[in-house]
Point group: C2
Chain length 312, copies 2
């Protein structure tokens, strides 16, 4: 049931973040006004539609000069008020330069939910049972490009400079926030100097406790790319070697990673039986709640099956 | 080139996190000892193999009782020493109850890299040009299960209780840290009471600025599941409705999300032409550097093509 609760909050938060909010910000605790040392300050929070309250410290100018002990008393009074009002959760959004308010909040049970470069968000579950609040991002996403030239049957591979074992692999790497899977095209160009076009998604790898992911998980996607140029001008800082090598050789050599070898075999199969046997096509579809678009990857579906796309 | 740098650090950090370290911890700045107000404390850091230095405040008992101003002087002296030694980056690992050290670090240029419930990690780039440090997790991962019964041609769908539009969708939701894609089986059971077995991965959606993802991105994967039980006992807290409905109807109705409708059409295509037309199979493969295993999803590959799996 844990997950079910989480799911509900996932969609709920989705709606909330989408702009739905039952009421505007309001005073959370008149008691806050009487809190000793609060300098007349109170923690004015905004209610969300799920029974939680969010406090943005950057909007509380009355907190300037407040010391940790005074803030703790103020927060303690607010928590009592929120509990009495039946709030299920409290969120504190704290600018990095006001981080001296974090420890007193933690002493009252708050934990970090996440941090961005210049701020952190703490949360305290006030409801019954275990927390049902949604988590933060859990995966980093790496993208690689298998640039395969059908006419020469050669594929573009690199050897990283900073590896213990120098094995052939497809160029690619950790994607930046907001980057799409198919930006493998740009990434391959930046690493090798070779221009290409996105053709399909070939494989998805999920790995947990991934080294280099700060204890989080890793999703690694390999795309099939069609070369548009062939001259290699690879990044010396990044790569030890970069070559066009015969696909058959890449599929057979021991000097490669299991995933590279597997994808090489997929490409061989596609070359002989048709790439429709191995490709996942990409299409943009509209998101229901937000008006945004997302990219969807799946096996090619005949047009006769696509027709309408359900609600929009 | 930005990405290329990032990639190098991705693999480098991978090796580092894997345990490779050139030297043990050592004094970072003898100057630290002379820092006024440092109570004889110094920030003893551990060097990593990439020229960075990490300081774990939890290991610095001499910092207890140190105020923010004194810590700032201590850190400032350490930064000067690290720069003189040619360090390219500094990492501060700060227990939540020592968060009063965050603001002084920020005043010297440190930013949050990430936070876990009871600690935060700050970083300061000391090298030339823009930071080449690896980022933190950027995606949340949601998983859904399309439980399809070939004999009755019915598929299991739900309507969430907390949606603006009540449309049919496949049961599933945000995955917990460390969960696999194929745990859609457990998630479907917890939400609907229906038991099933993993058959394949059908689609991958990537969405950015995803509402409910705290400004981060979202990866949503739909699996094909084979039912092992049919009695519905759905979570009232989570769902408004849960039914087995005819696949043809799900593919045609407007009362569904675009991705649900698309996957329903994929299932129809698979039902008529063979599920091998739509499935991605899953296999565990060994990670090269860590001895861990990961799950790899791609089109079914004939055994004759698999043979060896490259280096292990």
């Amino acid at each position: 049931m844990w997950w079910v609760r989480r799911t509900r909050y996932w969609f709920s938060t989705l709606l909330y973040a989408g702009g739905a909010r039952l009421r505007p910000g309001r005073r959370t605790a008149s008691g806050g006004l009487e809190t000793p040392g609060s300098c007349g300050a109170e923690l004015q929070g905004e209610l969300d539609r799920f029974g939680g309250v969010s406090v943005h410290l950057s909007r509380h100018h009355t907190l300037h000069g407040l010391d940790a002990a005074a803030f703790r008393r103020l927060l303690q009074a607010a928590i009592q008020q929120w509990r009495s009002e039946g709030r299920i959760a409290a969120w504190l959004h704290i600018p990095i330069l006001q981080s001296h308010f974090i420890a007193p909040a933690a002493s009252l049970g708050f934990c970090f939910h996440h941090a961005k470069p210049h701020s952190s968000t703490l949360t305290l579950w006030l409801g019954e049972g275990p927390s049902r609040l949604p988590g933060y991002a859990t995966h980093q996403v790496g993208v690689a490009g298998a640039v395969f030239d059908v006419s020469t049957r050669k594929v573009l591979v690199v050897q990283d400079r900073n590896k213990l074992k120098n094995m052939w692999k497809f160029p690619g790497g950790l994607s930046e926030p907001g980057e799409d899977i198919d930006t493998a095209v740009r990434e391959v160009f930046e690493e090798t100097g070779v221009k290409s076009e996105f053709r399909s998604l070939l494989s998805i790898r999920q790995q947990h406790r991934s080294p280099g992911a700060f204890g989080m998980s890793d999703m690694y996607l390999v795309c099939r790319l069609q070369p548009r140029s062939f001259t290699i001008n690879f990044c010396q800082q990044e790569c030890l070697k970069c070559e066009w090598i015969d696909l058959e050789n890449l599929a057979r050599t021991k000097h490669t990673t299991p995933i590279t070898s597997r994808v090489a075999r997929l490409l061989l199969y596609g070359l002989r039986e048709g790439f429709d046997k191995i490709d996942l096509s990409m299409e943009e579809l509209p998101a229901v709640y937000t008006g945004l678009f997302y990219k969807l990857y799946h096996r090619e579906l005949p047009e006769s099956y696509k027709a309408a796309t359900g609600a929009d």
